[in-house]
């Protein structure tokens, strides 16, 4: 369960979002500049709300009135950034392994192979991010987040720069992940994508939640 009830002022832009999602995949839908990235930055702990509460399951991650702010590295929340943010000094393999190493988890070669195969990045393992194409970078970022074994996944347009063929390969996998029980917050402006994946939709418009509910709210958009 994810509970968000926050306000945040960024320059002239004000974000006031309040929703509770039982859904395993919360689809965050909204136009460019609606505040989607800002909102998931707060869930990840990278941006502190001016006021409000963020809670995941029974753990309070942020509570400004109580002065609670769990730092990002203790949240175990995976994040696929809109701008990949691969570590440029590490090769693809090291990027993929980074989360596991930082959390001191044992290596899981089977899982590693499964994910690199799915994302078709197995042939890139020894390359550095500077030599990847845009879509390849995005796939590595997705793989890196998945391999860090998070308890919640934030995905900021993870399939944005991928071609249809690839999207259609990856989406079912994300559906499977969802069904295995890893909750996600999924940002997209592709209604079709969200219909396949999301179990609950939060519609954002200029920093306000304008609709909340099942995927059927997408048709009202």
């Amino acid at each position: 369960m994810l509970r968000v009830d926050v306000t945040k002022q960024l320059g002239e832009f004000s974000l006031e979002a309040s929703f509770e999602s039982q859904g395993r995949v919360t689809g965050l839908f909204g136009a460019s500049g609606a505040g989607k990235t800002s909102l998931i930055n707060m869930i990840a702990g990278l941006l502190r709300p001016d006021r409000g509460i963020i809670a995941l399951d029974d753990e309070t991650l942020d509570d400004t009135s109580a002065g609670v702010h769990v730092p990002p590295h203790r949240r175990r929340i995976g994040y696929v950034f809109q701008d990949a943010r691969l570590l440029p000094h590490l090769d693809v393999r090291q990027n993929l392994d980074y989360g596991r190493r930082m959390n001191r988890l044992a290596a899981d070669p089977a899982q590693f192979t499964r994910i690199t195969d799915l994302l078709d990045i197995g042939h890139l393992l020894d390359r550095r991010p500077g030599k990847l194409s845009g879509g390849e970078r995005q796939r590595v970022a997705l793989g890196r987040a998945l391999l860090s074994k998070p308890r919640l996944l934030l995905l900021d347009e993870p399939l944005g720069s991928l071609d249809e063929g690839r999207k259609e390969e990856i989406l079912p996998y994300l559906v499977r992940l969802r069904d295995e029980g890893i909750p996600m917050v999924y940002v997209s402006h592709d209604a079709a994508e969200l219909r396949q994946l999301a179990t609950q939709i939060v519609m954002l418009k200029r920093g306000r939640v304008t609709a909340l509910g099942g995927v059927k709210v997408l048709t009202q958009a």
Binding site: H73, G78, Y79, D83, M102, N103, D126, K131, A145, S148
Partner: protein, 231 residues
């Protein structure tokens, strides 16, 4: 022209030892301080910053004199260190290393600070979301990405340590085989009417040493940037 006397050899080796030790010991402190100055706000920050630059601003003899008063056998810190930890700087090569380390400290810190400031914080954030605690982020992201600055700082510091003599000779004097570095040897030779040829020879040697250090650092830096920007 190119016969090097045993005494000169001693000075050369001593210089190398002093400059290497000074650079290696100062580097971790320099990195820590650079990080503080680049990434933290705290009370007294600008005083600390000024303090770091002080050895640059003061004539070296003044720094040497202050070191003598502080770390000398009868100096406040010097006496305490000698009594309690058995560390003696006064009139030892360790003192020469201390003087060189302090004189080159501002040159070491600035480039490192500059590089740390230039590290993209969004990458540090990304590491954080992957579970890296702040010290892990520093060790695995910030520091590797600031490597060019660390190398530049170390080169400047090393070169300065080779050339330093004003503070050194004032602090630990010019004792052959103990505190006489190439630079102070050059100084002595320059003071003697017929010492020019020998001085010139030592000058060449110190140029060669620093050329070596420079080229080594360029090589490292090139490898580091290749790792960053290429494969």
């Amino acid at each position: 022209m190119f016969e090097i006397s045993p005494a000169e050899w001693t000075a050369i080796l001593l210089s190398l030892r002093v400059a290497i030790i000074a650079t290696l010991v100062a580097t971790p402190f320099g990195i820590a301080l650079a990080w503080l100055l680049a990434r933290r706000e705290f009370w007294g920050k600008s005083v600390l910053d000024a303090l770091v630059h002080l050895p640059l601003v003061l004539p070296p003899v003044v720094t040497g004199y202050l070191l003598l008063l502080t770390f000398g056998r009868r100096g406040l810190v010097g006496a305490w260190l000698a009594d309690h930890l058995g560390i003696v700087f006064a009139f030892r090569w360790t003192g020469a290393a201390l003087a060189c380390g302090i004189m080159s400290f501002p040159l070491l810190v600035r480039p490192i600070r500059l590089s740390i400031e230039a590290v993209d914080r969004r990458l540090e954030q990304a590491a954080g979301t992957l579970g890296a605690a702040p010290w892990q982020v520093f060790a695995t992201v910030t520091l590797p990405l600031a490597l060019p600055g660390v190398l530049a700082g170390m080169v400047l510091g090393f070169a300065k340590a080779i050339g330093e003599f004003g503070a050194t000779i004032t602090f630990v004097s010019n004792i052959p085989a103990e505190t006489q570095t190439i630079s102070s040897a050059i100084y002595s030779l320059i003071q003697t009417p017929d010492g020019d040829a020998a001085a010139g020879r030592l000058v060449l040697i110190s140029i060669v040493i620093s050329m070596g250090a420079l080229m080594a650092s360029e090589w490292f830096a090139r490898r580091a940037t290749q790792r960053l920007h290429g494969n």
